[in-house]
């Protein structure tokens, strides 16, 4: 029992980076994704083209590869980042690419009649988006965004690839040291607890936005 507690606390210490990365990515990728989504439905063709290229590249290549690129390849161009910074930047931009497409699809799924009603009432673009379209979009994008939120906690395990100590790596270290698979069980229980927590939060948000149904 003492052994399990010791191992758990060791793994939890390793997971601090996991949580940090998770929070930073969440905080930056959501607004970035929302902005890019608005850009993608804007009238500026060059901006739309550029954002199309962005989501194509970042959704079309492995996250681990992007992480390697930021950490190992950018120094060639004299951009040297701390491991955590490199991970935070890569994850934020990568997740924003997925969120861009989710938000764009969400916005485009709102009935044309909503824009028309807003227009005949005299509302301008910003008022229409902010007061009428986006509030309805939030409700619709909650399920896909909660999928991303769960993916993200698992993707954080990839930072071990650039030598950072995360939850999974801590578990692996104990496993190698003690020749027991107990740390893997503990790690999976921790992951499940975290994802359950995320699911719970999103269920709460969804409920809040469903009052009108």
């Amino acid at each position: 029992m003492q052994y399990i507690l010791d191992v758990t606390s060791f793994i939890l210490k390793g997971s601090v980076i996991t949580f940090k990365l998770y929070l930073v990515t969440a905080i930056f990728s959501v607004p970035l994704g929302a902005l890019c989504a608005l850009g993608k439905i804007s009238r500026f063709r060059i901006l739309r083209w550029f954002l199309g290229l962005y989501t194509w590249v970042f959704r079309g290549t492995p996250l681990m590869f992007q992480l390697f690129f930021t950490y190992y390849a950018l120094p060639v161009f004299n951009i040297k980042l701390e491991p955590f910074t490199a991970a935070a930047v890569t994850y934020s931009i990568n997740y924003a690419a997925y969120l861009t497409e989710i938000f764009r699809a969400g916005i485009e799924s709102i009935d044309k009649g909503q824009y028309e009603a807003a227009k005949v009432l005299g509302m301008n673009y910003a008022q229409t988006m902010w007061r009428i379209i986006l509030p309805q979009t939030i409700k619709r994008v909650i399920p896909p965004v909660s999928n991303e939120a769960i993916s993200l906690i698992k993707d954080t395990a990839l930072i071990a690839a650039i030598g950072m100590p995360d939850l999974l790596r801590a578990a692996k270290e104990v496993l190698v040291r003690d020749f027991t698979i107990t740390p893997f069980f503990i790690a999976s229980v921790l992951y499940l607890i975290i994802t359950s927590f995320i699911v719970l939060i999103f269920r709460k948000i969804e409920k809040r936005y469903s009052v009108h149904e």
């Binding site: 439905i41 009238r43 009935d111 044309k112 009649g113 909503q114 824009y115 028309e116 009603a117 807003a118 227009k119 005949v120 009432l121 005299g122 509302m123 301008n124 673009y125 008022q127 229409t128 007061r131 009428i132 509030p135 309805q136 409700k139 936005y209 009052v211 009108h212 149904e213």
Partner: protein, 251 residues
């Protein structure tokens, strides 16, 4: 001065000519119904007057002021060119209500007065409650649109349009999406508005209603105005073969 004046209106969707040589005047306080087979351009004409669509040729004047033909593109892009001028003059009611589903009936009505006209919330609520009493919907004011019937939704939508104190109301098939037993309550509200001298243009398939409420009835077919006459003339003694054929089918 005419409230609405359309001169030589022309519009096409691709190769489809949906409005041809449209000439129309609506005077203050007049109630004009537009009838005709589906696809005849009735709704498109109404949408051009409300600036949701742009004509390819011709002029539309609202209260003597020519309205801008907005630029090409989807509704989203056109919305960006939406200046607030003119907006309060023309109110519109849609076939599918287009209430804002995330707002209660009351919130739907006070939204534009507060956001567009910068009215104080208390004042907007007062006006909204007055309107809700008028359309007999006061008891549903805190309901979300999903919780009320189609007839109630349309009455809420009418109240929402009236809250902007429009000089002209355009109603695009206001009862076409309703169950038959709910049509009457909406038509009664519109009849009351007609009595108040509100200028209205109504696209409708309710012939008895059009006959009762209208000062003039316009019959459209294949993008053209075939007849523009008092209801008695259209319904009792139409001299055009197409009107007779249409009326014999729908009445």
């Amino acid at each position: 001065m005419d409230m609405i004046r359309v001169v030589n209106g022309y519009k096409r969707f691709g190769k489809d000519e949906v409005l041809k040589n449209i000439n129309l005047e609506v005077k203050k306080g007049e109630v004009v119904s537009i009838i005709g087979p589906s696809g005849s351009g009735k709704s498109t004409l109404l949408r051009c007057i409300s600036r949701l669509e742009k004509m390819d040729d011709g002029i539309i004047e609202i209260e003597g002021v020519k309205i801008d033909n907005h630029s090409e593109g989807g509704i989203l892009r056109r919305l960006k060119g939406n200046s607030n001028k003119n907006s309060s003059k023309v109110g519109m009611v849609f076939q599918n209500f287009n209430l804002f589903p995330h707002k209660t009936v009351l919130e739907n009505i006070i939204e534009a007065p507060i956001i567009v006209n910068k009215m104080k919330r208390d004042e907007a609520v007062e006006i909204a409650e007055e309107l809700l009493k008028k359309v007999n919907l006061f008891d549903k004011k805190d309901f979300y649109p999903s919780k009320i019937s189609g007839g109630q939704k349309q009455r809420a939508a009418i109240a929402r349009a009236l809250a902007m104190k429009p000089d002209i109301m355009l109603l695009d098939e206001p009862t076409s999406a309703l169950d038959p037993e709910l049509v009457g309550e909406v038509l009664n509200v519109i009849k009351d508005l007609a009595k108040e001298n509100l200028t209205m243009v109504i696209v409708t398939h309710e012939m008895a209603f059009a006959r009762e409420v209208s000062d003039r009835v316009i019959f459209m077919d294949r993008g053209e105005i075939i007849e523009d006459a008092p209801p008695e003339k259209i319904f009792e003694n139409p001299d055009n073969q197409r009107i007779r054929a249409f009326l014999s089918k729908v009445m």
